[in-house]
């Protein structure tokens, strides 16, 4: 009996939260209000897009780019020197960001980000369409990591400042937004096709637009076979990683001698994180973790992986839960054929 598939799995709870948050971040403007000042925040630690006319919140990356461009770069160019108070507005937007972040940490990625959810939904579709499963090798997963830091430092921090200073063209002032796939995903979800048209006003802007669409096209198709392809290089993941030790919400793994031969947690991990398999303690909570909790769901050892908020264990791995969960879905996200046979109606739909 203990093996019966639990009705409310962490996975189902997460999917429900993701769908609600997809609605809030993509269409929630009708709930919160129309003007920027009425949005839940302009400092969200998830890619909720300011270009989406119906959204309920804006992401921290657009705020950061604008403040570095206009409040820092342009002010320095105008005054000829740097003053501490130029970064005050930026400091306050980061404070607002942190007030959100401290509660959920990187669960903003695993539970709230609309682009994260869209990629996961496409991956689910890929399972239905029987597309192959592709994951990154341990080496590849580690090698890819610096890309997101480079995008954060180069596109979100440096180029907006140099644009403000007049060193690089003005169009580099919001360069990350110009290549951001969430801009395309969320506006398309509202039926707005404007963002998908590439701007041809100048050569550089055209290049950024072409890059954005190519990247988005790649992400949409790749997500049928690989989990969260864009998240691997997302600069917001890097920003969130910079703060991840400053929140009581975290992933905890205790040492167990069974782990080395097992590694199911890594198979279940949508970010292919090697550390969740090989490390324990702080190291297991790696910079790419989205706090989705799948590793804890699929860990067959009682209490080895936990999602914790301060001293409170929100979810603990357990053998009984693992067995039941495994019956419904494999670690890689394939629905089990056994269940399809049990439910003829669903089985026909799958065929």
């Amino acid at each position: 009996m203990a093996d019966a598939v639990p009705r409310l799995t962490l996975g189902r709870l997460r999917l429900a939260v993701q769908l609600v948050m997809l609605f809030v971040t993509v269409y929630g403007g009708s709930l919160v209000g129309y003007y920027t000042a009425e949005k839940i925040t302009g400092s969200l630690p998830a890619l909720s897009c300011a270009y989406d006319k119906l959204n309920g919140a804006h992401c921290q990356l657009i705020t950061t780019q604008h403040q570095l461009h206009h409040r820092v770069g342009e002010q320095i160019a105008q005054l000829g020197h740097f003053a501490l108070n130029m970064v005050l507005p930026l400091a306050f937007s980061f404070l607002a960001f942190y007030l959100f972040f401290v509660v959920l940490n990187k669960a903003f990625c695993g539970w709230i980000c609309p682009l994260g959810t869209v990629q996961e939904l496409i991956y689910r579709l890929g399972r239905r369409l029987k597309r192959p499963f592709r994951n990154l090798s341990e080496t590849a997963a580690r090698r890819l990591r610096p890309v997101k830091w480079a995008l954060l430092l180069g596109l979100v921090f440096a180029l907006p400042v140099t644009a403000g200073l007049g060193v690089t063209p003005a169009s580099t002032g919001d360069v990350f937004c110009q290549i951001c796939p969430s801009r395309l995903a969320t506006t398309l979800l509202t039926g707005d096709t404007e963002q998908i048209m590439v701007r041809s006003s100048d050569a550089l802007v055209f290049v950024f637009g072409a890059l954005a669409n190519t990247l988005f096209g790649f992400v949409v198709v790749a997500a049928l076979a690989a989990r969260q392809p864009f998240c691997r290089i997302c600069p917001l993941m890097a920003l969130n990683a910079a703060f991840q030790r400053l929140s009581p919400m975290r992933l905890v793994k205790t040492e167990s001698d069974k782990c080395e031969k097992c590694g199911i947690c890594r198979q279940a991990c949508p970010m292919d994180i090697p550390e969740i398999h090989h490390e324990h303690g702080r190291q297991a909570f790696a910079e790419d973790c989205t706090l989705c909790g799948r590793c804890a769901e699929y860990c067959p050892q009682d209490g080895v992986i936990q999602l914790k908020f301060g001293p409170l264990a929100l979810f603990k791995s357990s053998r009984a839960y693992y067995k039941a969960r495994f019956k419904g879905e494999t670690p890689a996200g394939e629905a089990k054929p056994l269940r399809r046979m049990e439910r003829p109606a669903a089985g026909t739909a799958d065929a």
Partner: protein, 282 residues
């Protein structure tokens, strides 16, 4: 949470802002020359040169007033600030808080009342302008419902709503005149609720974007909307609302290129999603 940040910012700004503010010294615009060159004879408050974070110069066109009322929504229902007019010009100053500023000048005479109004946006923390717009600020009013959000603007081909109010009551089935700096003249009518739906004409020249705060959006035109009526006592009211509108959403944009690059990206990912032979057999 942002409201909290806004509060802290307000408290700190008092000390912080002084050092950032550059010396005031915008040259006084020659407003009379600007008026002579105005594209319309309707009452307007016309931006005179490029403003900055601290303030923006304006000229009065086609009306005379000693002062301009400025509200920024941050003071709730506090009375508006009165900014003196000198040589038909004035400068709206950014406060520490307050983003949308409603500017309004009134010329009253025996014959009637002429009002010009516009909205100016400063990139400051501040409340949404909804309450400020809702507030009755003149006898005859053109109330944007809503104003374009930060980083947006009115654009050719888009339809935006305005409420026409007289002494707080909607004015039904009333003709309202639109004139643009490209020479378009059109009349729109309010509906049974006093709501006017204005579709901005496609008369914006396809200019190359200028960069900076323009965000690569290209050229823009000015427009003025104006409505006039006479009350039972024979007193005449004329009110204008003027602002700018930009090129259409798809100006300088290519759908074909957009779809082409999307397809290219998708194509690059295709090898990932097709099953390799050995997988199929294995």
């Amino acid at each position: 949470m942002d409201k909290l940040a806004l509060l802290i910012l307000t408290l700190c700004a008092a000390g912080a802002d002084a050092a950032v503010r550059p010396p005031a010294g915008q040259p006084a615009p020659d407003c009379l020359a600007a008026e002579a060159a105005a594209f319309s004879t309707l009452p307007m408050l016309v931006p005179a040169g490029r403003g900055d974070r601290q303030g923006a110069p304006y000229c009065l066109a086609n009306l005379r007033a000693e002062a301009v009322e400025v509200r920024n929504g941050a003071g709730g229902f506090a009375p508006p600030a009165s900014v003196p007019v000198e040589r038909a010009g004035f400068k709206v100053q950014a406060g520490k808080v307050g983003n949308y500023h409603w500017l309004q000048a009134t010329e009253a005479s025996q014959a009637g009342v002429v009002t010009a109004s516009t909205a100016h946006y400063f990139s400051n923390p501040g409340p949404a302008p909804t309450a400020m717009l809702h507030l009755a600020k003149a006898d005859l009013e053109i109330v944007p419902q809503p104003l374009p959000r930060e980083h947006w603007r009115y654009r050719a081909g888009e339809t935006w709503e305005f409420l026409i109010r007289f002494k707080g009551e909607p004015v039904r089935d009333m003709g309202v005149r639109l004139e643009t700096s490209a020479g378009t003249q059109q009349v729109f009518r309010t509906d049974g609720e006093g709501v006017l739906r204005v579709t901005f004409p496609a008369d914006v020249a396809n200019e190359a974007p200028k960069g900076g705060h323009d965000h690569g959006r290209g050229g823009q035109n000015r427009f003025v909307l104006a409505v006039g009526l006479t009350d039972q006592d024979g007193r005449y009211y004329l009110t204008g609302f003027n602002h700018v509108y930009g090129a259409a959403a798809d100006a300088n944009r290519s759908l074909a290129a957009g779809l082409g690059f999307l397809a290219l990206g998708g194509l690059v990912a295709v090898p990932l999603v097709v099953r390799r032979k050995e997988n199929k057999n294995g």
